[in-house]
Structure formats: C-alpha cells, structure tokens
C-alpha cells in the first residue's frame, strides 16, 4: 500500500545541507502496525510528514495505493490527506476556540459534508474515545489525555486508511499514555494501518514491526 523508493529529503539552512532522509527504501502493507524509532534529529518526523503528504521529498518516489505522489498537485494531496490519512500529533493541535465536537467535526466541514451526517459521525467518533460527555468542552477544559483522545477521534472521523502518530504519548503521563496507545492499537486491529513515531522503547516493542533511523538512514527493520 505504501512504497518508498530511494527517497531523500534535504534541508538547506544557510549554506549547510541537512540530509534529514538519505536514500530510504520502505514498503508498508495494509493493516500493518509499524513503529519508527531513533535518536532526536534522525529524521523520524520528516519521514512521517512525507508519508502524510505534509512534506515532499527532494528525491525519490513515494507511491501511495499505486499512485506516485510526486505527480500530485496541492489540491490532490489535500484530498488524500482529507480522505485517506489521519494525523495525531504530540501537541494535539486542537483548535482552542472550538469545542471537542467541533474539533472532531472539522475534517468533515472541510470536506463539505452535510451537518446532519456530520453529527452522527461525531457521536460515533466520540464514543470510540469514550468522550461523549465532553463533547461541548473546549480543549482548555480537558486533560492532556482527553485532548489526545479528541485528536484521535478527529483523525479517524473521515475513516482513513492510515493513521500517522508523531509521539502521541510524548506530552502525556504514563497512565494516559497507555490509554492512548491501547486506543490506537484497537483501531489497528480493526484494520487501520498504524505508523507511530516514538522515543519509548516499550511502546516501540508493542508493534508488529519496528524500524530504526539514524542520520536519515534506516539502520534496522525488525518484524515480529
């Protein structure tokens, strides 16, 4: 489902060139649960962002469901992000002035879905993360774990194929962290392809497959 061939991502800062990703090959099948680990600056986020079409490689190919993404324009990429990809970020990225329900509704608003259909899906997503009673709360009225659950509900409301999570437990204590992990693992069991960037060795070991990055290269690719 995801294939990456000879992919590189360079950043030019002043006259210095940073190779965030350096000739990477990677194939991820549908329904897989993959962890990406590596020291800080090794290129994990860069890889995840490219997988999520938030960033584009400087070289190489990224083929998603048989389509080479380098041939897509901005709108086509936005459409893929809307329908096929869900994101969960370390810092939640909820819109502060909107309620939990409205935050979850947002991807459907952007996709132009009718309010009546949206409401139903918000309810379902909220019950997935057990937050039905918090739907009218603003993010600031929720705990970190609850916020991340809202973010997860938002990421799955469009029923994507892939869920990309960049250190989803990074800002959480271990109890709420494990809650979040269980939540996304359940989604994976239901068929969602799950790719998680983490610093946490224990979390990394729970996945079916673990790859390690160093200086923008894959140095390890473990399947269990």
């Amino acid at each position: 489902m995801i294939r990456i061939e000879n992919l590189s991502r360079k950043f030019e800062v002043g006259n210095q060139i940073v190779r965030a990703l350096d000739h990477i090959d990677l194939e991820i099948t549908k329904g897989e649960y993959l962890s990406i680990m590596g020291v800080s600056g090794s290129g994990k986020s860069t890889l995840l962002n490219i997988l999520g079409l938030l960033d584009t490689p400087t070289k190489g190919d990224y083929i998603l469901s048989g389509i080479n993404t380098s041939e897509m324009n901005d709108d086509e990429m936005a459409h893929i992000r809307s329908t096929k990809i869900g994101f969960v970020f370390q810092s939640f990225h909820l819109i502060p002035r909107l309620t939990a329900a409205e935050n979850i509704e947002m991807p459907m608003v952007l996709a132009g879905i009718k309010p009546k259909d949206r409401q139903e899906k918000v309810e379902i997503a909220l019950s997935h993360v057990s937050l039905n009673d918090r739907s009218d709360h603003k993010p600031e009225q929720l705990s970190g774990g609850q916020r991340q659950r809202v973010a997860i509900a938002r990421s799955i409301v469009m029923e994507p194929d892939v869920l990309l999570a960049d250190e989803p437990t990074g800002n959480l204590d271990s109890t709420s962290g494990i809650e979040i992990v269980r939540l996304i693992e359940d989604l994976n069991k239901a068929g969602l392809t799950l790719i998680v960037v983490t610093h946490d060795r224990k979390l990394g070991n729970r996945s079916d497959r673990l790859i390690r990055l160093l200086d923008g290269k894959i140095i390890d690719d473990d399947r269990k």
Binding site: N49, G52, L54, D55, D74, D75, A78, H79, R81, S82, T83, F87, F89, S91, H93, I95, P96, R97, L98, M106, P107, V109, L110, A111, G112, P115, R154, S155, M158
Partner: protein, 404 residues
C-alpha cells in the same frame, strides 16, 4: 466547505480576539461615518443655497445692469459690478411686448426709516409692482399685495413683514394705517405671510412699496434688477434673445446689461455643490482605505500567529482555496459589520445634528450610504487578499512546526 461553516469559522475567530475585532470595527465604522457626515454637510449646504432660489420659480429671467466681460456671457455672480447705464422703469415697460412674458417685476432696493405712532425703526425696502408677488411666489397673511401698483402707476400703498407689523403696530390692526417711510407716506394694504429671505433680506423685516415710490424715496431712478417670468420654460431662450435685442437698441447698441436664467443659476449652484459633496465624500473615503490597510496589517499578524492552526487545517484536508476563503471571509465580515456600524452611527449623528442645528439641513445623500458600504467591503476584500494568499501558501509542515 459550506457557506455557513465558513461564516461560523470566521465569526469564531473574530469572537476569539475581541480587542482586535473591535479595533478594526471602529476603524472601518469611522471611515463610513465620515463619508456619511461630510456628504450630509455638502448636501445640506447645497440645499440651503438652492433653497434661496428654489421658491422664486423656475421660469424666471433676470436682467442685471452692467456686463461682466470676463464671464463671457455666462452667469456673472458679481452683482456689484459697475453700471455703465442704468436699467430704468422704461426699460421694464419695453419688455412687455415680448411674446411669452407672463409677468414683469422691476426691483429697487434700499433702506429707510419707518415710523408709526411715534415708533420708529430702520427697514429694508423693496420697490416693485403687483407682479412681484407672483414672481416671488409669496403668500399673503392678510390683505392685498400693492393693489393698483403697475409699471406706470405707483399709488401710496405698502405691504409689511410680520416683524415690522409686530414692532410698529403691536396689537393694533396695521391694515389701512398710514405708515411714514422717510419723507413719504403709504397706506398698509397687507401683511406678508412668507418667511425666509429674498435677495438676502429677511422677509419678515421688509417693507415693499410700489416701484416709483421707492425710486422717489431713494432719489435714484435706476432699477436693481428686472425680473421677468416666462409663461413656460420652453419660451425662455426666445425671450432672452428678444430682451437683449430690445434693451440693446434702447441702450444705444451697447449690451451693458446681463440677462440670466434663474434655472441656469440654480443648475450651476447645483453643480458646484455636487462637486463639493463628492470632494468631501472622497476625502472621507480615504479613511476607509486607511481602515483597509489596518485590516491588512492586523490580518498579516494573525496569519503568522495562526500558523499552526493553518498547518493543522491543511493536515486534516483543507485545500489552499479554503484557507484563502477563510481569511477573506474574516476580512469581509470585519469591514462589512464595521460599515453597517458606521452607517448607523453616521445617520444617528446626522439626526442629532438636525435637531441641534435646525436652520441647516443635514442631508446624507442615498448614494453615500451605498458607496461607502461598497467601498468598505471592497477594501476588506482587497486588503484581505494578501494575508489570505500568504496563509494559503504556507507549507503545512512549516506551519505545523512554526509555533504550537
């Protein structure tokens, strides 16, 4: 994205940053208010000036002694020009034979003392004929307007303004009484009901006498003006031609007089004041553009403040166009509601001014409301474009990691 979602999202941001929103609303509303107020003053001034002429009737042709050479036959405004040869009552009589002339009213003006029963005051005098009433479209309160007074006949009669009546006659009946004017006497035949001004004189303070009585009073045979009322507008040009021919012949071939049409004067006043109103409106519109630039600046700051939100919206599927729409909508909502606020303020203040200064008519023209509303919306769109474009072109990753 649906229209109401767009409005909801834009509104939610405006509410989220109340200080910013209020500041921009105030800026825009001041601009719109300025347009309304300044054009109201301009229109009011026009109304005030043209009101002086409007009640004189539009089919009026006026002969003024003297020729203002620099005006090239146009309408000289300088009425105090030198008079090479005076206009006389005979000149006025000679105009009678022209076709289409309905009324001829010679006008003499001056000032003298009026006495009755030991009371005395200085009064402005107009000397004319019975036709003057019809030419000026005046109303009588009581009595008759100079009965029997024609170009040839000047019986010793007079009519007086209300204030003269009050001051000299008090409670007693003025009609039929003999009023002393300078070294002459006249019998009061009526009281003028009209208020307002005529040739710059307050009608209520006025005494009107037959023309020859006035020339005798002032010991000066010349006329101040001759007012000719045409039967209708259409014959006006022909009458002017005939008048010029006849008067020129009488003045030894010299065109030492000026003939103007009242409606032409009114039209040129109208023009001048329209230009004035427009100029005032344009000056005020500048403040609308200043408000627009302010909106642009604040929105540009907002774009960088809201980078991470823009990045997130992109991550969850927003197209560039949608981000663009969102910011433009915000700008339009701001400028639109600011404009509406300004319209309400502008019109309310106009009402207050009307009550505070009843003599001056503040008239905000209809177009000023439309134009300022459209200008405000346009400046919202135009000055919203740059921030919106900048927001939509943000790279999603940069935006997401830019600030949290």
């Amino acid at each position: 994205m649906r229209f109401y979602d767009l409005i909801f999202l834009a509104l939610s941001t405006l509410i989220r940053y109340p200080l910013r929103t209020i500041m921009l609303l105030v800026a825009t509303s001041i601009g719109v208010m300025a347009v309304i107020l300044l054009t109201a003053v301009g229109e009011g001034a026009r109304d005030y000036i043209s009101g002086e002429f409007r009640d004189m009737g539009t089919n009026l042709i006026i002969v003024i002694p003297g020729k203002n050479e620099t005006s090239g036959g146009g309408s000289p405004v300088d009425l105090a020009g030198v008079t090479p040869r005076d206009l006389t009552i005979e000149d006025a009589i000679s105009l009678r034979k022209i076709d289409g002339v309905k009324n001829i009213a010679p006008i003499v003006i001056g000032e003298t003392s009026a006495q009755f029963n030991g009371l005395e005051r200085n009064v402005p005098i107009i000397g004319s004929t019975q036709s003057f009433l019809s030419v000026r479209k005046w109303e009588m309160e009581t009595g008759m307007f100079l009965p029997g007074s024609t170009l040839e006949r000047s019986p010793p009669v007079c009519v007086i303004g209300k204030e003269v009546e009050k001051e000299l006659f008090g409670a007693s009946n003025a009609i039929g009484q003999w009023l002393r004017l300078g070294d002459r006497r006249c019998r009061v035949t009526g009281i003028i009901g009209t208020e307002g001004r005529a040739v710059g004189i307050d009608v209520q303070k006025l005494v009107v006498v037959p023309v020859s009585l006035a020339t005798a009073l002032f010991n000066r045979p010349s006329l101040f003006r001759i007012a000719v009322e045409a039967e209708n507008r259409l014959v006006g040009d022909q009458i002017i031609k005939d008048m010029k021919k006849i008067l020129k012949k009488r003045h030894r071939g010299k065109e030492d007089f000026t003939v103007i049409r009242q409606d032409a004067v009114m039209a040129s006043f109208d023009n001048i004041f329209n230009v004035l109103t427009m100029a005032l409106g344009s000056i005020a519109s500048i403040s609308l553009f200043v408000a627009g630039i302010l909106i642009m600046n604040v929105m540009l700051v907002a774009v960088s403040q809201r980078q991470s939100e823009i990045g997130l919206l992109k991550a969850i599927g927003a197209k560039n166009k949608q981000i663009n729409q969102l910011f433009i909508t915000e700008a339009i909502l701001l400028s639109g509601s600011g404009a509406v606020l300004g319209l309400i303020l502008g019109h309310s203040i106009t009402q207050v001014l009307k009550i505070s200064f009843p003599t001056f008519n503040f008239l905000p023209p209809m177009w000023a409301s439309y134009v300022s509303l459209i200008l405000a919306l346009m400046s919202g769109v135009i000055f919203g474009l740059l921030p919106a474009r900048r927001a939509s072109k943000l790279e999603p990753v940069i935006a997401l990691t830019g600030n949290k």
